[in-house]
Symmetry: D2
């Protein structure tokens, strides 16, 4: 059943929500053949039992992780702390590995321990991984064998801040990120917190301080010599998919919105998945996750407070696409020489 | 801590949603003192951990079921099949018992087995229970020691149908009840089906045929000599609280809406919790569970199809109040000689 | 700007929700070039102001209806009663016309008047239109110049009922359709009823009797010699997109679910957009509009009541795709000799 | 129909959402008689047409504003900029006036102009009004004849910040308020932004900078000699009622959470409507507007970032109760010598 011209891709951890979106995108990708999909819990079941939107589109069944054979590229979509247990083994299965989880995002094992509270199981492999933000590291990703996909709050915040911080427009400290999160971000396992009568209509602070994704953002800025102190407060709101970040920062000097415009445009010109949103009319004048569901876009907007040096940057993504799976496929496209947008063309729905 | 003039009431099974609403109502009831509340799972914890809306209003902690002492009236709010295991014992604890569960709703153990698929554990006690619909059995309830609270789809359907069927306006067969249900109806334990990303925005058929509450409705009509064949199809929709039933029936003869009006008004005149809703303008022209949240009202509306003998009756309640706890307190008020509406005065919110 | 190998398509009434979905699909269709889009209200504005999901994908601006030039195929997405005013003119603009509105669905001007309460403005054109249900009239549509797209409750109900009624499995009378509708169905103009604080969480009966789409369904059955009496009761529920119909009918004779299976499978085998859903496990055992958002699928499920001749058929679609625009494009594909599924491949999202 | 022992209260602007909640509370208040309710648009209609939850509870009909007669206390619930046009006249109608709108919140006409962009129509009356936060100005309110009710974002933010800023725990600058708002806050008139298909599931930045309620908060701090620079960014989220504020500030010195506890407890001890929420378990560990619907509570929580001087304070209210009407009734109770909680005892629902 091998398909000559296609990349053979397997997915480890395919029964979760990120795994499902990855499958949807890969099954529609003209240069990919999905070879195997694992789920230890669901082994032997059709993947459509977990992902009913794929009914009629695939006859794949889940296999156990240990059944994974050789392939061209392997995606890992596992809970935090799992992929590092067996990464050495996964690296023997495929020349290219993209890990969508947290295990290989930080460069230093000490940082891992400080933020995640456990020892890192494979510190020697950390330097092998490239942190995968295609809009700011396309060349490294093109040449990478191993990519770590960013956290969803991290990638949208980095895309919002990077052009301003590295141009010295925004002070690197303090930067406050207020993240509004949809329910799919907490995964597919039911909990007391995800129980519909409790979660429906909730506007629930769940991580006011100490959010781990701050570590990734700070690492990006340290890499360009700009140590910053980033704080994230996260609130769960009533949506299934999506992240909206409202970022509060302070400008270095008297600043016009024109300069903000210029910074974003020069940074992201020609980047297919960044949309600068700054309209003067209409309902969608600022970025909004609602219309990004299913898409790989990151929308970015901004506003400067009058008579103050405060700047507000607003960013929106779909946590399951640009926040994980879609961004992973975008990295795959770069690594494999495919067009960057291939398989990621869905424009999103309105209204929805 | 005994309060002289007040009825000492205890609640068995107080950590669930119906138990929580019962507590909210009883704590505000001027003639009641809540004595004990049980939860085997949460014993030792403050009741406000399960019911955060009661924070600051009560310092009760849950006790285990076996710790229940004597009281004046005992409410049971247990999963189906549990209260019948120990009903004989509960009856020794209090002179009056109101069971909000299903176990004592049907008069016959055979019926129980046919619909619930198990043997009834206490068939000899079935005749001791009065089926508690205050609007049609107030006198029996006043004299009852033991009351079985109806199922939520059942009580709203009975209130919609009873005036028409017993007056011979509606044929007793076929009657089709299409019930739209909120998520709190499935209880407080998280499941795959209640997981927010799956349940949010769902319009999900979950019991197209064979719904058990049909048995209760048919029993009511058999009791007045009108064997009817009632079918219920239930669909879960996006709301936390509430039931809306759309009931499709057929008129015996040429019928005017005027006659429907008359039947409902003569049946329910002076009944404080039934609201006939038949407006010609405004958004709330038909019954609507949205504005009934927290209230003990049952709203009833109706419409006759032109050039056809089809009649549509529409009924709405809050499943946790008129559908369980509030109706139980209404029964308690009748049994104890309190004003029927005492403790149940909350008018509901708009918008909400 | 003309694109040699592509069909030149224009859209009259492109600022509404159906128009927006039509544009989304047509812009991604490999054999179509969108030539002009009209909106009298928004003329001169970019189409992305109305349809923010298309930002970056098109630079089209709305033109006024009278500016429409010649094209190969014209879609009309206008409010009821508008397209018949100028249909004669539209027919001169394009050889093929697909009207997504109600004006040309009924074969008889008398029927129109009976259900819509106005005189039909172009009764002589009614015979020119083919009622567009590709799954039951593919050949007529292939040969048609003018197609009338069905109403959304109508098409899903017809697909659920047609195989059973024409095989004599289901009695044609009484058939009761209980339709649950999302908010996008009422269009893009804000009203008191669509105001979020009133509409959110609503489970609102809005058309218990006299629903116009019943006329279309009855016409389909009359065409095959089976006069039926179909009643629709419609309830607005909390979703933006989607229709779920719960259809209650009665079997002609002792019937097994096996026979229902056979009828549906033989009718819809090879039909790419009908999915028979009858699972014994998983959350999505019955059809569900939630996962169909953005897709052209119609899901159909069914269940027979035990010890009764009642049959429940359940159908789900996205009202803006299979219920209007997507079905229109499917008709276009047939009329123009394109593959039936072209441009309609989006599989839908989960969770969402 | 005058009721001897009761305060005669009239409401100007009674058809909006705040007016409706005011009526619900006043109709249940044992010491109040609602005398007249105005709505120019709905004059002659029963108030239950606008407020369907009050069906069966009142037979009042709306009158025009000019028909308002003498009464003991007058509530004004009008759009911004309206009450100042006729305040002199309203003051002749009742000895006590409570204005729930914005017109008399700021002490200075210049401030009004700076934030609202218009001339103030009655600058000479501004000094007559007391800014009504009962938890910090109970004595002034008791002696006041004229009270201006705070804005909803303002009151919850003030209650969160006041104990910390005036004790010198929190630096008065920068303070960043990220407010999540429900849809009822925008009033009862349908707009493009409130149209359900657009507003449902939205997480929509709508006032990232320049929010007017900042002026009220700064005025409170200036009054105690602590000029502060407060910024508010507001985001609309999917709920009908409620405000959640996440407030980001910086501590003056090394601070423990213990000290935050102490500040809040000493400030609000004995204040019946402030609930400090700081639980270590359960779903409702932080303040949450969901369970406050219909109640007059303000919940306050807090957390200090480890290894940083950032403090996050979280506050929640129902915008229509503690954010407007309920707080107004609380002020009335103080002004009239009634128990502070009278009429405001509803504890809220769970789940909801």
């Amino acid at each position: 059943m091998l398909n000559q011209g296609r990349l053979r891709v397997s997915v480890v951890g395919g029964s979760g929500y990120a795994g499902g979106e990855l499958l949807r995108i890969l099954l529609g990708h003209p240069r990919v053949q999905v070879q195997q999909v694992t789920s230890n819990r669901q082994a032997g079941q059709p993947v459509t039992l977990s992902h009913p939107n794929l009914r009629g589109l695939t006859s794949l069944t889940f296999v156990r992780a240990e059944e994974i054979g050789d392939c061209d590229l392997l995606f890992l979509a596992l809970p935090n702390g799992e992929s590092m247990q067996s990464m050495e083994m996964w690296m023997t299965r495929a020349e290219r590995v993209i890990d969508l989880g947290a295990d290989f995002r930080l460069r230093s094992a000490e940082e891992w321990t400080a933020w995640y509270g456990t020892e890192h199981a494979a510190p020697h492999l950390l330097p092998h991984f490239t942190y995968g933000v295609p809009e700011i590291s396309a060349d490294q990703i093109r040449n990478a064998r191993h990519v770590a996909g960013p956290g969803c709050e991290a990638i949208v915040s980095i895309l919002c801040l990077y052009p301003l911080v590295r141009r010295g427009i925004l002070k690197p400290d303090p930067i406050i990120i207020d993240a509004k999160m949809g329910s799919s971000q907490a995964g597919h396992a039911p909990t007391d917190a995800s129980h519909h009568p409790e979660r429906a209509g909730a506007v629930r602070s769940y991580k006011p301080t100490g959010h781990r994704h701050a570590a990734e953002i700070q690492q990006v800025f340290r890499n360009v010599g700009l140590p910053s102190s980033v704080c994230i407060s996260a609130t769960a709101v009533e949506m299934v998919r999506g992240v909206l970040v409202t970022i509060h920062g302070f400008a270095h000097q008297d600043l016009t919105e024109q300069e903000l415009w210029r910074a974003f445009r020069s940074e992201y010109s020609g980047k297919p998945f960044v949309r600068i949103v700054k309209q003067t009319q209409g309902l969608y004048r600022y970025p909004e996750p609602k219309i990004l569901q299913g898409t790989n876009y990151c929308e970015i907007g901004f506003e400067k407070e009058r008579r103050s040096d405060r700047v507000v940057i607003i960013g929106a993504i779909d946590n399951l696409v640009k926040g994980t799976s879609g961004n992973g496929v975008q990295c795959m496209n770069l690594m494999c020489g495919f067009p960057e947008t291939m398989g990621l063309e869905f424009p999103g729905l309105h209204p929805v």
